[in-house]
Amino acid sequence: MAEYLVENGSSVRPERPLEPESLLEPESLLEPQGRLERLRWALRSWQLSAAMWTRAAMAYRTSFVLMLGANIMITSLDFVVVILMFQHTDRLGGWTLPELGLLYGTSAFALGMADLLVGSVDALGERIRAGTLDVMLIRPAPALSQVCAERFTLRRLGRPAQATVVLLWSVSALRVDWSWDKVLLLAALLVSGTVIFGALFVGGATLQFWWGEAKELQNSFTYGGATLLHYPPTVFAKELVAGVTFGVPLAFVNWLPLLHILGKPDPLGLPAAFQFASPLAAALSVLVAALAWRAGLRAYRGAGN
């Protein structure tokens, strides 16, 4: 048997050996040049990898449906609690149930979208231990894109879908005069909020470059942060509110812009400009997270020490 294979294997010869250089496109076409081109390539690599994971998940279709349902139920629990609380009161921290619905809807939507797009990064420690990160580093695509897309699953659409339902209900139940600036602000906060939570996922995960088992730590900022934002700022101590305004920029996800939309006074008495600063806070978060990721990857590869 073995001899047969040896015979057979060596008898097969390509008619024309491939010449590596002649057929290859100039490398300048392959290697993305410039900042914009590199960013586009990073997004494209994420998309390629995510598409593969989506198709892989389709191999387990029944489990997918069941898990999507469970996911929606799990993420609904937080709002069920809010509803139960309002069985006993009609105001919490001076805010009504539809107002809390707006808080909940925006916060859960932003967290859910961020989790869908980059949430897988929180398993970085496991990827390092299993050697998956090394495999990603030998591909010509950004490691961050690959880590974020690893195990991508549409099942995570459960949270944003359920948040959208709550959001639509609250918008219809609220008596807000939806002028164009408020509509624009709501759209901007949903995008900025997603970006801020995404930056928290990535920034928090970089801690695992140094502290491999610390996966749960970042839950404090992402899931804990989202829980915080389900409730009005008036419920919390001023120090805490200041901490999530000037430290971890959670307040920009929904608290500050919603103060303007709902016409509420700011418990910290900050200038009104803060209520429109979410995109700026999101940009800053991305910058910090990107620097943290770069520092983490450098430390992992052992560069610069």
Binding site: L66, M67, A70, D78, H88, T89, K215, S220, L240
Partner: protein
């Protein structure tokens, strides 16, 4: 008998030690439980400011409710996990069929391991949140020193009930292609009906009465009420009896399911 008791003790001790090696993970978890404690305690403060004495809890009891439940969350495994992950791995590798025929009892083995885990997590993940609550929110510590041992007994019973529930979920893997879905649904049910999110007394009529007789109440609601010294005298005994009854029923069901599973493995030849 003496030797098998020693064996189970060794299993429990080994499990305790295994969990104690995940030091960074434990610290990260403690931090997260404490952060959630802070956030939820403020929301309870706001609710009880609007409705003082709601559900029979004074404000200090309400805040303490949050801290006790955060301290117990991992110990009584409301989220599931612990031995479940190990059993799932044995299903994946196919070793599970062999496990049923080991000289060590399958249920006994995992129960001992889970008690070891719970012991470690009560110390490592329970003390810090309750201490943080005591310092930052003046959480209400038991007034009578006798409450402490009774509370610990109630936590032990809670772990037994939790084990019984998770054991049934794990064994469902013998009949279901994939127990992930069951686990996810159980998580929702456990979070809600244990009183982890809101004391069961605040549930609307109907739902409240149902929640109070379901086994999940034994996980968080009963031990926390004992800690808060809301259950005293006959109510205290009723609470412990409730936990004990569910523990017995669930472990008996687990034993029966194990027999069925063994028979199924025999019929299918492993």
């Amino acid at each position: 008998m003496g030797s098998s008791a020693r064996l189970y003790l060794a299993i429990a001790r080994g499990s305790f030690r295994r969990y104690s090696t995940y030091r960074a993970a434990t610290l990260a978890g403690v931090f997260t439980n404490t952060v959630f404690g802070f956030i939820l305690a403020y929301t309870f403060l706001a609710l009880w400011r609007a409705r003082p004495g709601l559900g029979g809890y004074d404000t200090s009891q309400a805040v303490t409710y949050i801290w006790v439940s955060q301290s117990l969350l991992i110990t009584v495994a409301v989220w599931g996990g612990g031995f479940q992950d190990d059993v799932q791995e044995r299903f994946r590798t196919g070793d599970i069929a062999v496990d049923l025929y080991r000289p060590v009892d399958f249920l006994g083995w995992w129960l001992a391991a889970d008690l070891g885990r719970a012991g470690f997590q009560l110390l490592a993940r329970g003390l810090a949140p309750i201490t943080a609550g005591a310092i930052a929110f003046h959480a209400r510590m038991p007034h009578s020193p006798l409450t402490w041992p009774v509370f610990l007994l109630s936590v032990l019973l809670a772990v037994l009930v939790s084990f019984g529930l998770r054991y049934l979920v794990s064994l469902s893997g013998f009949w279901l292609h994939d127990s992930d879905g069951v686990r996810a649904v159980m998580l929702v049910v456990a979070m809600f009906f244990s009183g982890m999110l809101l004391p069961l007394g605040l549930f609307p009529d109907g739902l409240r009465q149902a929640a109070q007789v379901l086994p999940w109440a034994a996980l968080i609601q009963v031990p926390t009420d004992i800690f808060l010294e809301r259950s005293t005298g006959s109510a205290l005994l009723a609470g412990l009896g409730f936990q004990l009854a569910w523990a017995v029923v669930l472990l008996a069901l687990g034993r029966a399911a194990q027999l069925l599973a063994t028979r199924k493995v025999v019929v299918q030849g492993g």
